[in-house]
């Protein structure tokens, strides 16, 4: 397979057009060139290479999982990742949250006219590398070019398909009183990395996004026979929103402890400065797992063996409740309700 590297040895395959033009989406020669030389070359695999209108593939009999997500992050490149790697990791992680083994992705590109070809190529190379690391193939796709000013550089949609190879019912409805709540690592990094980059905030150290695929540790839990009740990635709205959604669906009380929730020093400092709560900030490589108490410490140990979940910790428990509720035991030992954020997280004046 032809796998160009993105670095000094990864020349942009379309030299004569430094920017994406409307014609690159127009169905003619330029579009053909873009598809062949950029996407076809980077994502090459036997299914994609057949160049049908739809990809054809076989899967073993059983249950499939499917998910879709659109990526509109600005800036396109940020410490710890970029829109391309995020578009792979995010969709792979959504599949992982149902315990599925991710197999195939589609990707749709909406490109704003004038996007530097070099930028597109960097993103595409990053997607290719991320897909390889995740063991998934991009088998079909679409490209549209929109007028200058009608997009924000580049939007990407990915749809993922995976196979379910376990017999558990992994869903919020399966969460039971007596379950332990496991957090897969430190929280708040992605949101703060993006905010620092977007707003030009300078901190002593650069906060890196946690964007990473988490399907391997999840599959490891299932392989070890751990009865996984529910998994939820902690993207927009952060840990607080995820737990509230699950408490609501399952009709339970979730009680967690502030002290057990890892937040890196730099993230903590940035949050303090801007008046944000790390529990409300988005993550791109973190999830919460609901697992029967008896399996909890074994699950944590298993997760800790994988790099992306090496910071896994037990943060709380599920209990019966007359009304759904999430409570947080604060650093000084008092308890309070942990609510969903009302809207977008905005820096506070005081």
């Amino acid at each position: 397979m032809n796998t160009p590297e993105f670095n000094g040895t990864c020349p942009i395959p379309i030299q004569q057009y430094p920017h994406v033009l409307m014609a690159h989406g127009g169905g003619g020669r330029l579009m053909h060139q873009l598809l062949e030389r950029v996407f076809g070359r980077a994502f090459s695999n036997p299914i994609l290479d057949t160049r049908h209108d739809s990809a054809q593939f076989s899967v073993a009999a059983g249950t499939l999982a499917m998910t879709t997500d659109s990526y509109v992050v600005r800036p396109l490149f940020f410490p710890g990742g970029d829109i391309g790697s995020m578009a792979i990791h995010g969709t792979v992680n959504d599949l992982a949250m149902s315990g599925a083994r991710p197999l195939y992705l589609s990707c749709g590109f909406i490109i704003e006219e004038g996007l530097p070809m070099e930028t597109l190529w960097r993103v595409v190379c990053s997607m290719r590398d991320a897909a390889q690391r995740c063991g998934v193939q991009i088998i079909t796709g679409d490209t549209k070019v929109v007028d200058k000013g009608k997009g924000d550089g580049l939007f990407i949609n990915t749809t993922g398909i995976g196979t379910i190879e376990h017999a558990h019912s992994i869903s919020p409805k399966s969460v039971r009183p007596g379950d332990a709540v496991i957090l897969s690592g430190d929280v708040g990094r992605h949101g703060m990395a993006i905010m620092a980059e977007r707003e030009g905030l300078k901190f002593e150290s650069t906060i890196e996004s946690d964007s990473a695929p988490v399907h391997e540790p999840v599959l490891a839990l299932l392989k070890a026979g751990i009865e996984v009740h529910c998994l939820r990635d902690l993207t927009r709205g952060g840990l607080a929103s995820a737990l509230n959604e699950i408490a609501e669906s399952a009709g339970v009380k979730i009680a967690i402890e502030q002290k057990r929730i890892p937040v890196r020093e730099d993230v903590h400092a940035a949050c303090e400065m801007l008046g944000l709560d790390p529990l409300h900030v988005a993550n791109e490589g973190r999830f919460a797992a609901f697992i029967p108490r008896k399996d909890a410490s074994r699950a944590v140990e298993l997760l800790q063996q994988h790099e992306v979940t090496s910071g896994a910790v037990l943060i709380g428990d599920v209990a019966e409740a007359s009304a759904p509720l999430v409570t947080l035991k604060s650093a000084i030992g008092a308890s309070r309700i942990l609510d969903m954020p009302s809207g977008e997280q905005l820096p506070r004046i005081c």
Binding site: E272, L325, I332, A334, S342, G343, I349, C350
Partner: protein, 370 residues
């Protein structure tokens, strides 16, 4: 985190809480003035550690929340103009005026931007000479020096395309307004540490004396607040009413004098409406005559715009401790965190919003009047 974790120590917090329990013999009602303190109280659950007979009355919340409808409506009108880049602190963007908020103006094409300092707005004005850059200057005395500095620098640079919509408010007149109400039930105050860092606390002894209330200048971390409460209770229990400084690591009696001089130079004291509360005399800052050219209200012709605060909002009574949020007829119905009427619902830490969010699962009896 250094300089923070020390003030969040669980054991020390419990120790202070035990001491508060030990010295408290009667019911007391204490108001924390600043939204930052309320935020810490709610975030750390500080009120849970207190004896049942100590009631914390949450103050008006943050200055964003007390900004009157009238001024927000002016902001919305200015921000929607095509020639304007409207800049604001982030949390102001979702505070609704009569009809909409700044986030919605942005969604409809207004150029509304979050800045972290008023000086960033001055920079924007320099970079965009063809645009009118407006900064929404809100805040207590804490942020007033930065706003003043922005106006001062803009004047020095001779910027003609920079102006400010000012809604700065002052703390001591608000305390005075609360206390002068014959029914006010507040018996002691935690004064706002950061306001006093700038202004010092020489304004407070006359208030403490006149209204016989202890006032303790207090910081924002859990241990600060617990210690501040302890100091207020000790005064109340022994019949004293003086001004004490818990936040000595930041606050000096005379405050930050260069900052005060700058405020005096750029601003003048004016009457100001508080959201849901009404007008409080001499409780705001407006631009001084010499800087009138930077007044966005005049520049965009919105100075005479008048909007009444909603009549069925009881924010003023809630702030005085005379009503509990759920006793308001609008609470949870016409007035919710998504569609707030008064300051106490706008602020996520305001008394009404805190009740709505954190206590809606409790029965009305358990959150009833003390």
């Amino acid at each position: 985190m250094k300089f923070l974790d020390e003030y969040r120590d669980g054991e020390l917090a419990q120790k202070l809480a035990r001491e508060i329990h030990r010295v408290t013999t009667r019911p007391w009602r204490i108001m924390e003035v600043c939204g930052g303190q309320t935020h810490a109280i709610v975030k750390f659950g500080i009120d849970e550690l207190l004896p049942k007979n100590i009631t914390l009355i949450h103050g008006p919340g943050c200055p964003v929340c007390v900004t009157p409808l009238e001024v927000i409506d002016k902001a919305l009108e200015i921000a929607a103009r095509p020639e304007v880049i409207f800049t604001s602190f982030g949390d102001m963007l979702r505070v609704p005026g009569s009809t909409t908020d700044l986030l919605s103006v942005k969604a409809k094409g207004g150029d509304v931007r979050i800045v972290y300092s008023p000086l960033d707005a001055v920079k924007l004005a320099e970079q965009n000479p063809a645009k009118e850059v407006v900064f929404f200057g809100v805040g207590f005395e804490t942020t007033a020096p930065a706003t003043a500095m922005a106006v001062f620098q803009a004047a020095q640079k001779g910027l003609k395309n920079f102006s400010m919509l000012i809604s700065h408010v002052l703390v001591p007149p608000a305390i005075e307004a609360l206390m002068s109400s014959p029914n006010c039930r507040v018996q002691g105050f935690l004064a706002a540490g950061h306001v006093c860092t700038v202004m010092g606390y020489e304004e407070y002894p006359p208030l403490a004396e006149k209204y016989r209330v202890p006032i303790v200048v207090t910081g924002f971390e859990p241990l600060d607040i617990l210690q501040g409460i302890l100091m207020v209770v000790q005064q109340l229990e022994t019949g004293r009413a003086t001004v004490e400084n818990q936040y000595a690591r930041s606050v000096r009696r005379e405050g930050n004098q260069p900052a005060q001089e700058l405020i005096k130079k750029v601003f003048r004291v004016v009457p100001r409406k508080w959201r849901g509360v009404g007008e409080i005399p001499q409780s705001g800052l407006g631009l001084a005559e010499a800087y009138a050219a930077f007044d966005a209200e005049k520049k965009f012709g919105v100075a005479d715009h008048r909007v009444e605060e909603p009549a069925d909002c009881l924010a003023g009574l809630v702030l005085q401790g005379l009503k509990k949020p759920h006793e308001c007829p609008a609470f949870g119905k016409r007035c919710t965190p998504e569609h707030p009427l008064g300051a106490t619902m706008v602020s996520s830490e305001g008394a009404c919003a805190a009740y709505y969010r954190y206590r809606r699962h409790e029965s009305l009896e358990t959150i009833g009047a003390p």
